[in-house]
């Protein structure tokens, strides 16, 4: 076998192995998207009921609560960024990071100091590489987040927002995550969790213009609100985590699909080249034999004379 042909054969073999791997990853991601989507759906009833309750209390209770009123001049904001632990998901992480960077720049432009909280190894690595200070980070569960994870993330954030700004607390809480629109579309979005803007919450609950019942609060409106808002934040974070994980799997599936397709194309063109190399080799061998015979014939003819 000629050297050229051997090189092609070896490359075809390695690309075929790669293709098998990417194909497997595509299948795994596809099954995980479905699972993640199911989890998003399973968490929806809780989120809707909670949103409805929050709207009811916040509009029913006339008193001002730290988590629903905007500070007169906010000076500090917290940004929670959700990324994934692993890459191989196309532009998934870089889109989320880019959206967060834009938000941070915007907030800083408004004269607010920004505390950055990051979920997922990719995001952490991004900020560590640039030697930016992170307020807190969480890693290791982005593929399959649980409610306990959301609770763990929510805890320091709620603590920060309840503290006075002078003591290192924050006035606003923003979240940046990747929304799962469909299998093909996932967009990085940013939202302000706190202070709560009631119009938006009401819109989410889909009942902005219906008349709300006059609730009796047990034990009291403030206590209910105090207990309700942290749960609301946690549930929003949980929902964002789930959407982000569904989006990550969808992005991985797409990236791996195109990798598999590319590998297939590469194999086709390499096979063509290998075939051509083999043909060239055979042609050369034939012409060598023919040439050899002719030379031999000439030599014998010469010796006859």
């Amino acid at each position: 076998m000629g050297a050229q042909l051997r090189v092609y054969k070896r490359r075809i073999k390695s690309v075929t192995a790669t293709k098998k791997i990417t194909k497997a990853m595509e299948m795994i991601a596809a099954s995980r998207v479905v699972k993640a989507q199911r989890k998003v759906q399973a968490s929806t009833p809780y989120a809707t009921e909670l949103t409805r309750a929050v709207t009811a209390v916040a509009t029913g209770a006339n008193d001002k609560h730290a988590l629903t009123t905007e500070a007169e001049n906010p000076t500090r904001a917290a940004v929670l960024l959700l990324t994934s632990d692993r890459g191989l998901a196309g532009a998934f992480n870089s889109n989320a990071i880019k959206a967060a960077e834009q938000l941070i720049k915007k907030l800083e432009g408004e004269g607010k100091a920004v505390d950055i909280y990051v979920v997922g190894r990719r995001g952490v690595a991004h900020f560590n590489f640039r030697e930016r200070k992170l307020a807190d980070t969480w890693t290791g569960f982005t593929d399959e987040p649980t409610y306990a994870d959301a609770k763990r993330i929510g805890e320091p954030l709620i603590e920060a927002i309840e503290k006075d700004t002078a003591e290192g607390g924050v006035d606003e809480l923003h979240i940046v995550y990747t929304e799962f629109v469909s299998m093909m579309t996932q967009t990085a979005v940013e939202a302000r969790l706190l202070p709560l803007s009631l119009d938006e919450v009401a819109k989410e609950a889909g009942e902005s213009d219906t008349l709300r019942p006059l609730y009796d609060f047990e034990p009291s409106a403030e206590d209910v609100l105090d207990a309700l808002l942290p749960r609301y934040v946690e549930s929003r974070i949980y929902n964002a985590l789930l959407q982000s994980s569904a989006s990550k799997h969808a992005a991985t599936r797409r990236a791996m699909k195109s990798a598999t397709d590319n590998a297939g194309e590469l194999i086709t063109s390499l096979t063509r080249l290998a075939n051509a190399a083999r043909q060239a080799e055979i042609t050369q061998e034939i012409s060598e034999i023919v040439g050899g015979t002719a030379a031999l014939a000439d030599a014998t003819a010469g010796s006859d004379k």
Binding site: Y46, L50, Y147, P213, A227, R231, S235
Partner: protein, 124 residues
């Protein structure tokens, strides 16, 4: 007025139970409260404790609920809990083990959770 109310018991990650009921007893931070059809709109903070639902078919559903809310309006009752388990989903032995572990480890919250689970099973 309709003599039954619609109950939705939802945990953070799933819907646990939903159906029609005639009476729901839950524990709020200021004490046990019973909700019957026609109750005035109510929003309350739940304690860790068993929730008892008398269904309109005459059966009883008991669930262990840990932290959450109850909201009632228009004969619709929503019980939101971070964790909620129906009594027949609870593994008694596991709960007992968890209780022992919590007692040994001085984890008051875990101890309470395990106790509530066991109580929910006992009521069944």
């Amino acid at each position: 007025m309709a003599a039954e109310l619609h109950v939705e018991l939802v945990a953070a990650d799933r819907s646990v139970w939903s159906g029609e009921a005639t009476l729901v007893i839950a524990r709020t931070t200021s004490g046990d409260i019973g909700v019957m059809p026609g109750h005035q709109p109510l929003l309350g903070v739940l304690e860790s404790g068993p929730v008892t639902i008398r269904t309109s078919e005459g059966g009883t559903v008991v669930a262990a609920v840990h932290g959450g809310f109850l909201s009632f309006a228009d004969d619709k009752l929503s019980l939101l809990a971070e964790i909620a388990e129906l009594s027949d989903e609870i593994d008694t032995q596991r709960a007992e083990r968890a209780l022992e572990r919590a007692k040994a480890g001085d984890d008051a919250a875990a101890e309470r959770r395990a106790e509530v689970r066991l109580r929910a099973v006992a009521v069944r």
